[in-house]
């Protein structure tokens, strides 16, 4: 094996206490001991790697060190002092940073913001966000890592390697002295790995303590100072890199006596049942070829990320491969969906039995029958009796321990749940059974039962493909063993040839020359599309304007222009609020009703007090709107009612209230004071007040969204709600605020509506406004899925729609097309936004 020569490292800080240490740490998950009495010491200025098989406990230990999990026993020490880490945020404050394999970032925000948001964005004198300082600090941080990235680049367009760098920079911004990195090189190209290592060395020399988890022996020996090996939740030992060898490490990882608990399986294999050749899928696996004969058990060994599950999913039709062929019983087949696979007699017991193998809330009986529904039905008619009979049959045959087959599947223990999944698939009488980690998380007794079952199935002539990280299991059960590493088959062993050592050797090892790094696809396209959108809309506006002017000379008349220009500001004002709501991944359908209700309340007040001044009216309108918006906010942010339902309800409830308040009668021209009317006529600046007010609100919104902490947090919440709360962003409070503000803006628009049109009608005022506003917002570039949007785009969108409204009749097109056009706009915007998300590397693939 070709590995780098052992380094001689200089140890620093021998006398002072280790930077971070774990003492007698113990952790249980549902009664199963995952970590037992772990002692670990990591010194300052050292790279310390944790190694072990899948399930040895490395990730769990890492999560405890990083504050994600809390130990059930034992303690953590930081520079000799005991600390308690209640959350990743608390760990960060102690200077301990956890770098994830798949970075937890905000795809729509820039690099600089991803580093600072939620934790502490640089502020200027008035408390507003200091973008220049932020960018400068970002550049400094990245430079200290030796990385060149544009602070303004959106995270979405970056490669995983670069995103990792940003996460590292974020850790450094907290002056983190302990860096925990879980498999950082898994998704990197060889060159990116070297770049990372240079940075790691620099940080180490600067006194940081770095804890790695890695499977790649070559890399581990290249970068580490010391290695600690875990096995079955216990600490086997710590070695200095210069004083050990890869062989010894492997022996420590796997060295255990093989227990006689497992069944030996018979081999009398016949014709090949499953033949796979040349199977490839970009970025996941390459050129996979093997066969499984009837009566044979083929085990696939390998470490996490090797691509084994991806291969299984390709065969089963979940994510079809890019190239290669699959043959069942000698016939080439096209498997494009699990349904096809099941029809061909293939079964797949997934790795994640709870999320992918079972429907937990449904009964055991229903779950058992899930893949064989035609069998328990006649002409589509389900027979409960047959279902129960089927379920009881498997309950007996598999010795499933439960109260009753009608109880929900989630009440069963892990082992029994797995048996239900097995029962489900065995009922389909498959020819090929793919089992992905079949005995993970199952107690010893159930394990033995599953193994016995597998042996029996092989005896019956079925072909079994077993993916497993449990080496003794693979060795005991398989007739042949394949080993995968980084998407390729790196070893094949027959029964008797394989040992734990040689399997592990084939599973670890140096990185190949081929890059397995997942690069982002179509980086530029997304950005271009977005810029194009705003320009496109602006162009469209100009063109439509010109077209109208040409076709109808009357279009350019002052009267007509006035009419356009005075309607648009109203939409703009409401759209500012709706935009913020949509950016935060919500929706507000009630804006029109709020507008109408505020207008009616103000109108009524004018009737009662004809000499009320405008300022008071404005306060009332804003106040009413804010109160109504607050109701939305409480429902959505505090009571967890989905936004669509809450605002659908308030839309109607408020419209009803309008009738109640108006007594059915319209508020007319003579009810409203002339001072109000004058708002839409002129002002000292020769431009009507309405337009000025709308412009002021738009500018204020732009500034707020750009320079205030809460404004930026709205984008973060919409971009990645989970990451937002992890970062300590007060999501509920922000949402409460957004809905209240939207209500307030709608209220103000209500007052201005009365000014513009001279009346308030309980039926029509504000009615259907929500559709206009939502269309304008989404046409204007605000992503309907949240996370991004701009005031300029929304204003352009409002302009466009306002123009279309007036232009249609001018061009001889029935004005009745309006509503249909709004609908089309929403649909098109949704489609475009989905395409953008798919292109810029944020693919809608099924999560592994």
């Amino acid at each position: 094996m070709d590995i780098a020569p052992p380094r001689i490292s200089t140890q620093t800080g021998e006398i002072s206490p280790p930077m971070i240490a774990a003492q007698a740490v113990r952790k249980l998950f549902s009664g199963i001991t995952v970590l037992e009495n772990i002692d670990l010491e990591v010194r300052a200025g050292e790279v310390h790697t944790l190694m072990g098989e899948n399930g040895a406990g490395k990730s769990t230990l890492m999560k405890i060190l990083g504050g994600v999990l809390q130990p059930d026993a034992g303690r953590l020490l930081l520079s000799g002092r005991e600390i308690v880490l209640t959350s990743p945020l608390a760990a960060l404050r102690h200077g301990i940073a956890l770098i994830h394999q798949e970075p937890l970032s905000f795809p729509d925000l820039s690099v600089a913001e991803n580093i600072f948001i939620g934790w502490g964005t640089p502020r200027a004198t008035l408390g507003q966000i200091d973008w220049n300082t932020m960018r400068r600090r970002c550049r400094e941080l990245l430079e200290s890592l030796g990385v060149r990235l544009d602070p303004r680049a959106k995270m979405r367009g970056l490669s995983i390697a670069d995103q990792q760098m940003v996460e590292l920079a974020a850790a450094l911004s907290h002056s983190a002295k302990v860096l925990l990195m879980d498999e950082p090189t898994a998704a990197l190209t060889p060159r990116e790995v070297q770049r990372l290592f240079t940075i790691v060395r620099r940080l180490r020399d600067g006194g940081a303590a770095i804890v790695f988890i890695s499977h790649r022996l070559g890399e581990v020996f290249e970068i580490s100072d010391r290695i600690t090996v875990l096995r079955d939740g216990q600490c086997i030992g710590t070695r200095t890199v210069g004083e050990t060898s890869p062989e010894e490490i492997i022996r420590m990882m796997v060295g255990r006596p093989l227990s006689a608990l497992y069944e030996k399986s018979q081999t009398a294999p016949c014709e090949p049942m499953l033949q796979v050749s040349g199977l490839s899928r970009r970025g996941r696996f390459t050129d996979i070829g093997f066969e499984v004969r009837a009566g044979e058990i083929v085990g696939i060994a390998g470490l996490v990320g090797a691509g084994r599950t991806d291969v299984a999913r390709a065969i089963f039709g979940i994510t079809p491969p890019d190239a290669g062929s699959v043959k069942i019983a000698g016939k080439t087949v096209r498997i494009r969906s699990p349904h096809d696979a099941v029809r061909l007699g293939i079964a797949y017991v997934p790795e994640d039995r709870q999320q992918h193998g079972l429907l937990l809330p449904m009964s055991v009986a229903a779950n058992t029958a899930m893949a064989s529904l035609p069998r328990i039905s006649r002409f589509g008619w389900l027979s409960r009796a047959r279902q129960t009979h089927l379920a009881n049959n498997w309950k007996d045959r598999l010795a499933i321990r439960l109260r009753d087959v009608s109880q929900p599947a989630r009440e069963l223990s892990g082992g029994n749940q797995q048996k239900v999944v097995l029962g489900k698939w065995l009922e389909t009488d498959p020819r090929v059974l793919i089992l992905d980690e079949p005995t993970r998380g199952i107690d010893v007794g159930a394990k033995a039962e599953v193994h016995g079952l597998m042996a029996k199935l092989a005896e019956q002539g079925k072909s079994l493909l077993m993916i497993s990280s449990d080496l003794p299991e693979i060795l005991a059960m398989s007739d042949r063993i394949l080993v995968m590493r980084e998407g390729r088959i790196t070893g094949q062993f027959a029964r008797g040839q394989a040992t734990q050592e040689n399997i592990m050797t084939a599973a670890t090892g140096q990185i190949g020359h081929e890059s397995s790094g997942r690069s982002s696809i179509g980086v530029g396209i997304a950005r271009q599309l977005m810029r194009f959108r705003e320009i496109g809309i602006a162009l469209f506006v100009v063109l439509s304007f010109a077209a109208c002017a040409i076709c109808q000379p009357r279009f350019l008349s002052g009267e007509n222009l006035r009419s356009i220009l005075l309607y648009i500001p109203l939409i703009v004002i409401v759209a500012m609020g709706e935009m913020m709501v949509i950016i935060s991944r919500n929706i507000d359908l009630s804006v029109g009703s709020i507008l109408g209700l505020a207008a009616i309340v103000v109108g009524n007040r004018f009737i009662a007090h004809p000499d009320m001044n405008i300022a008071t009216a404005a306060i009332i309108a804003a106040g009413v709107g804010a109160a109504l918006g607050l109701v939305n906010g409480v429902l959505i942010a505090l009571l967890d009612v989905p936004a669509i339902i809450a605002t659908l309800g308030t839309l109607t409830a408020y419209r009803g209230l309008i009738f109640i308040f108006s007594g059915g009668r319209q508020v007319d021209n003579n009810d409203l004071p002339t001072s109000l009317m004058r708002l839409s006529e002129t002002s000292p600046l020769k431009i009507p007040w309405i337009i000025l007010i709308a412009a002021a609100i738009a500018i204020a919104t732009t500034l707020w969204l750009r320079y205030s902490r809460t404004g930026r947090e709205i984008f973060a919440i919409g971009s990645n709600p989970n990451a937002a709360s992890v970062r300590g962003i007060p999501v509920r409070r922000v949402l409460l605020l957004i809905f209240t503000v939207t209500g307030m803006l709608s209220g103000i628009a209500g007052l201005l509506f009365a000014s513009r049109f001279g009346y308030v009608n309980p039926v029509s005022t504000g009615s259907q406004m929500e559709l206009v506003v939502i269309s304008a917002v989404v046409i204007g570039g605000t992503n309907i899925f949240g996370g991004s949007g701009s005031v300029l785009g929304v204003v352009l969108g409002c302009l466009l729609l306002g123009l279309v409204n007036v232009a249609l009749p001018m061009l001889g097109v029935s004005a009745f097309w309006q509503l249909a056009l709004y609908g089309l706009a929403i649909l098109l915007a949704a489609i475009v936004d989905t395409l953008i998300q798919n292109r810029a590397g944020g693919g809608q693939e099924l999560s592994a």
Partner: protein, 332 residues
Amino acid sequence: MIPTPYAVSIRRFLALLSFPETITMILLIAAFAVSASLSPYFLDIRYLLDSTSLYMEVGLMALAMTLVIISGNIDLSIASNLALTAVICAKLYSSLGVPMAVALILAPVIGSALGLANGLVVTMLRLPSLAVTLGTLALYRGLAQVLVGDHSIGHFPDWFTGIDYRYLGPMPMPLLIFLGAAVLFALLLHKTVFGRCVFAVGTNELAAKFSGIRTGRVKLAIFTLSGAMAGCGAMMMLSRLSVARYDLALGDELAVITTVVLGGTDIFGGRGTILGTALALLLLDIIRRGMGVANVSAEDQLAVTGALLVAAVLLARLSAGIGRRVSLISHR
């Protein structure tokens, strides 16, 4: 907990409460009692039966919407679908001379096609049903507006109109049609393979897909069914009102969703019954009638309906919370 008979029956009562339908039933009885005390008409069975006719289109659409929501989706466009289908059929009859009988049969077909369009966009383009049906809500009604402007189309043949004045014994036709449809839907949802697939998709779409269920087809079918019901509702409404306008059933999507949620269907999918929807429909009808009898104006009733939707969701949360606590107690 000491298992005295008293404690056991309390536990059973709480367990029963964890079924949302129970709460609906309780509300129904309460609403009936209140309304009856407000007006003696309520005890007149004839009156009650007659008054249901106003609401049966909502009922039909609610039946299909139950399936949509159970599957984890939503269809905001049904009322617009109804309007567009009604307008198209009316136009076929009045302008193109198509016999009304043919138009009658075409209505569910047209509605289905519109619903299928929703389904195709959702499954092929993988867009969330919320966004898609928000768009078609506007698009379909907009198209209805384009077709008919603000005119109404009337003068339908006598045999077609006045469905609410036709009876089979004491039962008005709309009610009978709804009950028949309800039975069919109940059988479909609770007794067939398809119904099982609907629940599976709404419970855990991935796991359902991994079990070999064709989730795409299930969703297509659900949206098509929703459209079909909108088409049937279109004909019923046309017969009842004798006019086709673009604003038919305006805002009725709210009533439909309220009915479904009030009936105990979980807005997040995976749980629901036709019985609950039917009970909720009755409940809403009684509330409306009750308000009418108490001289609450139609507009005020609007406010109440809106508030009801929100209340329904909150209630569902409450009963889910009770359900969880009950299972914690009984599975110690």
